[in-house]
């Protein structure tokens, strides 16, 4: 009983802070139009969800995120396999990759706008670029971690290089690749929103900036709250899928944070 009470201290703190937020706004301790009570934020969230305005925006953002995740992920895995299995490819392309990697993503948006315009193509490309690097790095690491015995066995049985790559190396490095995708997933959502904030008139990001110009604090907090929940749900969902796809990895007693 006491231990359960002690564990509750964290939730009590969260509740106390929410209560403080509510009371300070209701009683005017913080006299600012930018400080709406928590319940008003929740009400705004419910209202915008009911009217269908937010679900439509979120749907668009999620679609662009998914498309970018797919494109960047496939490119990252393919190039990662090539880097790790064919040293010459690595030597050829690594300098370019290492030069591009440290450029902060928001900065590539303006040049991409010139080439690809303000709409879906540009945003999907920005997300794909973001996703590409962590997936590439993890794929290379994953291939390096493949057991030499498994490869030797494949060679003994006369399996060709391409089939070895697809049926031995790829499954064996899957835990690493998935870990890369999990990092990329969180980044992809943020970057999709960032691209919408900087350019164009689509999605949740644009909505956030509009609400900021309009000074609608409730809508801003509601959207931030929604994005937080969305990020959390995506991560949870991915962890579940990961458990299913590579249950053998966990069965070996290893951690998901490879």
């Amino acid at each position: 009983m006491t231990s359960r009470l002690r564990n509750a201290s964290g939730f009590a703190l969260v509740l106390a802070l929410l209560l403080l937020w509510e009371v300070s706004a209701r009683l005017g301790w913080v006299a600012s139009p930018n400080w709406p009570p928590f319940t008003a934020v929740v009400a705004a969230l419910a209202r915008d969800v009911m009217t269908g305005e937010i679900p439509l925006l979120v749907g668009g953002t999620l679609w662009r995120m998914a498309a970018g995740l797919f494109a960047g992920g496939v490119a990252g895995v393919v190039l990662g396999l090539a880097f790790a299995l064919l040293p010459f490819v690595a030597r050829l392309f690594a300098p370019i990759v290492e030069l591009l990697r440290p450029i902060p993503v928001p900065a590539v948006i303006p040049p991409l706008v010139l080439f690809l315009g303000l709409d879906d193509t540009m945003k999907v490309t920005v997300v794909a670029l973001t996703v590409f690097f962590p997936v590439l790095t993890n794929t290379v690491q994953g291939v390096r971690a493949v057991e030499a015995d498994a490869l030797a066995m494949g060679r003994t049985f006369g399996i060709g290089a391409l089939r070895r790559a697809l049926f031995i190396v790829l499954p064996a490095s899957l835990p690493y690749i998935l870990a890369g995708f999990r990092i990329a997933l969180a980044l992809a959502l943020v970057v999709a929103v960032v691209a919408e904030m900087i350019a164009g008139e689509q999605g949740v990001g644009h909505y956030l900036v509009m609400m900021q110009f309009a000074g609608r604090a409730e809508e801003i907090y509601a959207t931030v709250l929604l994005l937080g929940m969305l990020g959390y749900a995506l991560n949870r969902g991915f962890l579940l899928a990961e458990r299913r796809m590579i249950h053998w990895w966990f069965a070996l007693g290893r951690q998901s944070d490879a």
């Binding site: 201290s9 930018n34 370019i96 450029i103 900065a107 010139l114 943020v190």
Partner: protein, 254 residues
Amino acid sequence: MRSALRWLPGIALLVLLVAGLEWAVNAGMIRRALMPPPSAIGDALWDLLASGDFVEPLFATLRLVFAGFAIGSALGIAAGVAMGWWPAAYRLLEPLVELLRPIPKAALVPALMLFLGIGEAMKITSVALAVFFPVLINTLQGVRGVDRVILDGARTHGWGTAHVLRHLVLPAALPFILAGMRVALGLALVLAVLSEMLSGQGGLGFLILDMQRSFQVRLMYAWLVILAVVGLALNTLFLIAERRALHWQPANRP
């Protein structure tokens, strides 16, 4: 010498690509309005460097990154050590941290602008927020991973808590803390550039967006090159510092 030879094909390809771009633009295959020839970008870049015009925006962005990174890291390490060391602190703060962590910090920039305006305070806060959580999580992991036996040994020798934290826990957790800070440094640069873009004033991020919107494409690329160099330099410097700080560690670091 041999390692330099190893990367020769890659560098050759890079040079080839730039030369090919120059040729393609001059041959009219790519519109100049979108992609000026690399030599023209080089000229614009040289003008910026020679005239010293690059200094002010560059330092504005760097100041932002360093201030936010320092504040976020210090708070993240402090909170991480507290949560990793005192179970009561962990129980108290863990739900709050788990609640706040998934909120995308980039989406908080508009909210911060309502409160703090578009000046330095807003930008530094957004950078610090982005830095705080990865540093906190890694510090927590590092502190929790400290070998119990060593801690018991220290207690046997009568070390006080402060002494143990300073001379035992922090050094042992350092590889984790630095790994978290390395990730956070990249995020700091992203948030600095983003908040400059959204606030419409400040250093490199603002200039890149502004040059694009006013169709001064050469300057946009020139500033982008400067920003890329900054990103590469920060990353490299951190790796060197990390390696020096951890020279006593075996090679398999997190």
